[in-house]
Amino acid sequence: MSDAAKVRIAFRVNGHEVAVDAWPMARLLDVLRKELRLTGTKEGCGEGECGACAVLLDGALVNSCLVPAVHADGASVTTIEGVAQGDDLSAVQQAFLEHGGAQCGICTPGMVLAAVNLLARNPNPTEADIRAGLAGNLCRCTGYMKIFESVIAACKQKGDR
């Protein structure tokens, strides 16, 4: 069989319109990292188990290693680079910083996006909600408790505002 042709994919990333030419089955993860140089999104397992590559696709948390880039055509994508407003960290990012929620950093972008996704739908989650909301994000350093504490702190901080 002859090679497929690259296809033009146009979408919004962190509020900016972008267009790339990619192989039809290219992973959104690779388009973000290699074509758009948004290397905040990490590759962990490459099979949807670890959540390191999580991004928001039209507001829904997805693992970008399992999304073909063509499914982002016309969509709006938020990566970790789009979570802060300029130098103003989001409540989740600030809480991770203050409560030791990040250690080596590989899982952190996915953790932050999973937490942002959770709090967008459920501003006052129980600890069980937090554990379920972050269950698809694996961390091999902190042992999770500091991450859960960070998310709880982010809820409180949001509530204080």
Partner: protein, 287 residues
């Protein structure tokens, strides 16, 4: 080894007619591609044998949840997240919601679909046991027309389905007939999130005077396909009160209806014992 991407084609049909026409023109060549949570794993592992894919993810005909008095009908591309957010499903088909909540993580639930789970035909899938308990039927469509098949008869063997190369799973329908039934679902895995099940059990029983008047029992991960255990069901319907002797006999019959194996997730012995224990827990919680 990773896949060589230029060899893979993905086409996005504008509507169902175009999708079915392609599948009809080259049967077996075009594989439907929904949320990708199974196929993309194979792609990255370099194990995706098929080369041509039809992206059906955005076809409106395959989405949505609609009800009549008799049935609730789900588009095949209803995601696990949509299943959990449906109040009707939460009220009338709670086992499907439990299964959806225990399938993968939030990110997987946002992309994984019931129809994709069925077509992937893993014996370890979590939603099929619930669909079997609810007497689900599948609508299979092709350029030749549409037909409904009972889900209990759809899986013919390991990864073998009653699905022609030009057919697409379009809708899933369940009779609204479980009101008042005792319902039970339990997935046993290494951890409660993400893990693929070692054993998955769904059951529903209609009780009359502490006797079982009607019952459905289905399991995942204990045979080459998900299985409905009809001999165990028949025994339980024909018997009287749920005495310890009846439960033990039902466990023996169940053991004859499953064929678990040793693999990297668990052992045949463990799976058989757990399947029997889950049956006991289901029966004791119903009685």
């Amino acid at each position: 080894m990773r896949a060589y991407l230029p060899k893979y084609e993905m086409v996005t049909p504008r509507n169902m007619e175009e999708a079915l026409a392609r599948m009809s023109a080259e049967p077996g060549i075009w594989r439907p591609f929904a949320g990708g949570t199974d196929l993309m794993v194979l792609l990255d592992a370099g194990k995706l044998a098929q080369r041509k894919f039809l992206s059906i993810w955005k076809l409106p005909e395959l989405h949505g949840i609609a009800g009549t008095r008799e049935h609730l009908t789900l588009g095949a591309l209803t995601t696990y997240t949509e299943v959990q957010r449906s109040e009707t499903l939460q009220q009338e088909f709670p086992l499907l919601c439990r299964a959806a909540a225990e399938t993968g993580s939030v990110a997987t639930q946002n992309r994984g679909t019931l129809g994709g789970n069925i077509a992937n035909a893993s014996p370890a899938a979590d939603s099929p046991p619930a669909l079997l308990v609810y007497d689900a039927e599948l609508e299979l469509v092709s350029a030749r027309g549409a037909r409904w098949v009972p889900y209990a008869q759809f899986h013919k063997g390991y990864k073998q389905m009653d699905l022609a190369p030009d057919e697409l799973i379009a809708r899933i329908r369940m009779p609204r007939a479980r009101s008042g039934w005792k319902q039970y679902y339990r997935k046993v895995g290494t951890r409660s999130a993400q893990a693929i099940s070692k054993v998955c059990f769904a059951g529903a029983a209609r009780m009359e005077n502490r006797h079982i008047a009607d019952v459905r029992i289905a399991l995942g991960s204990v045979a080459p396909t998900v299985v409905r255990c009809m001999k165990t069901e028949e025994f339980l319907c024909a018997t009287g009160a749920l005495t310890p002797a009846v439960v033990t006999r039902a466990q023996e019959i169940l053991s004859g209806e499953i064929a678990p194996i040793d693999d990297f997730r668990s052992t045949a012995n463990y799976r058989r014992r757990v399947a029997q224990n889950l049956l006991e827990e289901f029966l004791l919680s119903s009685g």
